[in-house]
Symmetry: C2
Subunit: 271 residues, 2 copies
């Protein structure tokens, strides 16, 4: 099944555009989990069990695992979602980018090793570096376009000679050249609703992964109003820290569910 | 010791600007190694033992390991170099890039987990995404500027309103804003000697990591003449496939040494 079809189904079923980011920071995990052998997986499993009917996807950020040699728990987490909640797709947030020979290996990492349904990629090295990803017809290929951080302006906002910023050119290439397999999405920060609206206008109904609500300060109303497409969808709105660290106590999963539900409903209010 | 000082010492000692890329492709490893339990490490060890006095650095490309869950052998390889040839620095070719919270974890991955001496990073997300790397004063932070692949032109060559291409702006920011700790290097493909010369003129004696000679077709003479700095150095010229797969037989390490020596000498001819 194509990622975008799976996404459409679960968005409808769970009535949700919310993606929960499973970014387990060892220092922030509840104390009672510290004695568990696979504490990261144990943490994720509880969050997943508590939120699976509220989300349209989960996103795992590779760095939170690779910094601590926890690749095994990353794989376990994805397998757990696939086995228990097969309708919910998993996004591997890796932002990889390299020459095509190497990019093919990152494709293997994302889809053969981790069995992710979608992956984030950085477009800096151009079309041939993206090609091995774009060939994965059933996967979601999420290309960074206008990111949520303040430094995004340093390069992404530079105006090209035609007067359009670099991010506009990326969105334009995504629509006109890179999306032959109808598997391309764009990553656009919630912290820049104006840019979000501009890219929506340029890309018709293309789906966006939108990080930056919650801890990063992105505003939900502005995000939804600026980014929603003509089907009342086209957004995967990610929140990580605000949800998964809602409590550091034994009730962390219940607390996470509560915030996830509030966030989902808040998003739906403006759809 | 600062990476750039270590690099200067070994460049002098081994009279070499050559970096050997340890990118072990399972399908290309000599047949007699297939029965070894840690065949990737066994392969690397022989290449390292055979070439350590000919190089100024080794570069390990993470994807060749992470695609096959071989993080352990990647770590073993770097440890082996540090223990046996402590003068030779190791570059982790990871091309990471993310918001600063996540970038800090990639810093941990590169320097705490793998104990690399330098790392490649992608600048697309701007200054704050680079900051956690730039704060590592003793490490080498190698920022992608003009890459060796054909698709590099898609974004990196786009002309900004001042008439300068995007890669020029990256080189300019690297010199003027990002190099406060004197630990920044640029990654510039050997396949584009004209751009290399242009960036050399802009960045004074800054050191470049130059991939793309050998299998990717970059010309050594043009690379050295365009890229050398006023000290007759300032280049780390990487070759991977042409050297490490010089032979697929039991003599692969001897064959690799022969090509490495030829490449080093060819480079020196034009210094």
């Amino acid at each position: 099944m194509k990622f975008l079809d799976q996404l459409a189904d679960i968005t409808k079923k769970n009535n949700s555009l919310l993606c929960v980011g499973l970014d387990p920071d060892l220092e922030k995990l509840p104390a009672h989990l510290h004695s568990e052998k696979a504490q990261v997986f144990a943490f994720n499993r509880e969050i997943i069990d508590a939120t699976h009917d509220l989300v349209c996807a989960y996103k795992v950020q590779v760095a939170f695992y690779s910094a601590f040699a926890k690749e095994e728990e990353l794989a376990q987490t994805i397998t757990y979602i696939h086995e228990h909640y097969p309708q919910v797709p998993v996004i591997l947030d890796a932002k990889r980018n390299d020459i095509s020979n190497t990019a093919s290996l990152y494709v293997k990492e994302a889809f053969d090793r981790y069995k992710a349904d979608a992956v984030t990629v950085n477009p800096f090295m151009g079309m041939d570096s993206l090609q091995p990803f774009l060939e994965q017809k059933d996967k979601g290929i999420m290309i960074l376009c206008r990111t949520s951080n303040a430094g995004a302006k340093d390069l992404q906002d530079l105006k090209i000679v035609d007067g359009k910023p670099l991010y506009w050119h990326i969105a334009n290439k995504a629509v006109k050249q890179w999306n032959k397999n109808n598997n391309v999405l764009l990553v656009i920060g919630a912290t820049y609703p104006q840019e979000l609206a501009e890219i929506r206008a340029l890309t018709n109904d293309m789906t966006f992964l939108v990080p930056g609500v919650g801890a990063q300060g992105g505003d939900i109303e502005a995000t939804v109003r600026s980014g929603i497409n003509s089907n009342g969808a086209g957004l995967i709105i990610n929140s990580s820290r605000t949800i998964i660290y809602a409590s550091k106590e034994k009730d962390f999963a219940v607390a996470a569910r509560k915030i996830a539900e509030q966030t989902r409903d808040q998003i739906n209010q403006f759809r």
